[in-house]
């Protein structure tokens, strides 16, 4: 499996945010995107996840079967963890995870096992609304584990996590890469990922178009 991004350009309203981003990731590779606030990290991730239209360039995914998929089908192979956790406050952690497992398909870990991995087995039957911000984030990370998707797109995955949980997260992320998955993360913190490539986004030079 190989994900290739070629010459990506993304506009928001009339502002060009990303200009000519290119990258190619194979099985087991991780990409960490850094850069100052507002430089377009989230925009880039949302575009790769198919949630934002790209104005120029292509996204391709080459499957192990030799098939090549176009941009709009790539999102079906992605787990996206944005700033928001995607959990219903009135449902318990187990109910939330079970729902995503059934909805996304390809079940891997049961909701209890996945919560074990983020060290939150005791909140299994607690409504999400009662959890702290960091705990919610950890349940959201557990969502990545209940259904198998080869590409993980994570937007500041460790926001609100304590040192211990951040370490648990790196273990999970490294495990994902080791099992042949692709990981793309935007962050300001160190994620301690093994063999991760780093890209620092630079603000688009507006002067060039003026």
């Amino acid at each position: 499996m190989k994900l290739s991004l070629e010459n990506l350009c993304i506009n928001r309203a009339s502002n060009q945010i990303i200009d000519g981003f290119a990258c190619s990731l194979a099985n087991g590779e991780a990409l960490v995107i850094t850069g100052p606030n507002g430089v377009g990290k989230s925009t880039l991730l949302r575009a790769i996840a198919g949630l934002l239209a790209i104005s120029f360039g292509t996204i391709h995914l080459e499957l192990d079967t030799g098939e090549t998929l176009d941009g709009q089908y790539v999102r079906e192979y992605c787990h996206y963890l944005g700033h928001k956790n995607g959990l219903k406050p009135s449902l318990t952690a187990a109910e939330n995870l079970r729902f995503w497992q059934q909805f996304c398909g390809n079940p891997v870990f049961s909701s209890g096992k996945a919560l074990d991995k983020v060290g939150l087995n005791h909140v299994l039957d607690t409504p999400i609304g009662y959890l702290s911000a960091g705990q919610k984030r950890r349940v959201a990370i557990a969502r990545l584990l209940v259904a198998r998707k080869p590409i993980w797109i994570l937007d500041e995955p460790t926001t609100g996590l304590d040192d211990n949980s951040a370490k648990l997260f790196s273990d999970i992320a490294n495990g994902h890469c080791k099992s042949g998955g692709i990981l793309i993360a935007a962050t300001h913190q160190t994620l301690s990922l093994a063999n991760a490539r780093k890209v620092e986004l630079q603000p688009v030079d507006k002067g060039a178009f003026a």
Binding site: L51, L87, S90, L91
Partner: protein, 219 residues
């Protein structure tokens, strides 16, 4: 999709408020009419079915703004639209779940509220039947409005303004079928079948339109 249906009904059920708000809103509209028209029971009986229909129509608009906005707020909408499932099917399921917790309770309270308007059992039955056929159409039309307004802050009023004109055919044939069953010379079968047709038509077209809207309203 069954999982989505279960999750959506469960979240609305757990948060409780919206079901009761809908029923209470329905009740207040029905209580208001006798004050406006006066205590003429004959007139109330004649207008009863129409009052129930207007009340149900307005009450089912209430929760529509939450159909997609809630999923947008907690971030699950992004994940829902990324899956390989057909987006229209997702919208269809969400709309059915929405109708089950907002439309169906209204129909179940019709016998009680009909009593307050001096309606007999047969009339109440007919109104409940036409409402049960017609309110899903309102929900499907509403889903399009909800999808249009999902990214707008405080889009609730906009949804009502957008979709009320579109629900007029549902109201016309719903009322026509109801009075058709109650008064002799008026036909029942043809307006009722047209009402069924509108519901089926919107059940197909509504989710397709709303899905297109959700796909292109990404930010």
């Amino acid at each position: 999709m069954i999982a989505l249906l279960k999750r959506d009904t469960l979240t609305t059920w757990r948060s409780g408020g919206s079901i009761l708000t809908g029923i209470l809103f329905f009740l207040s509209i029905i209580v208001l009419f006798p004050f406006a028209i006066g205590p003429d029971t004959g007139l109330l009986t004649r207008l009863g079915p129409a009052i129930l229909w207007i009340g149900a129509l307005l009450a089912s608009l209430l929760g529509l703004d939450r159909l997609f906005a809630q999923d947008l707020e907690d971030g699950s909408l992004d994940i829902l639209v990324m899956q390989e499932h057909s987006l229209a099917l997702m919208v269809f399921t969400k709309t059915i779940a929405h109708w089950l917790v907002t439309g169906l309770p209204l129909i179940l309270t019709v016998p009680l509220f009909g009593l307050m308007l001096n309606l007999d059992a047969f009339t109440v039955g007919v109104v409940a039947l036409t409402l049960a056929t017609g309110t899903p159409a309102i929900a499907f039309i509403g889903a399009v409005g909800a999808a249009v307004a999902v990214k707008l802050p405080r889009g609730g009023m906009l949804i009502s303004v957008l979709i009320l004109p579109l629900t007029i055919p549902v109201l016309i044939f719903g009322i026509a079928a109801t009075y058709g069953a109650l008064e002799d010379p008026a036909p029942f079968v043809s307006p009722y079948l047209l009402l069924c047709a509108i519901t089926l038509f919107t059940a197909v077209l509504g989710p397709l339109a709303a899905a297109q809207m959700l796909r292109h309203s990404a930010d």
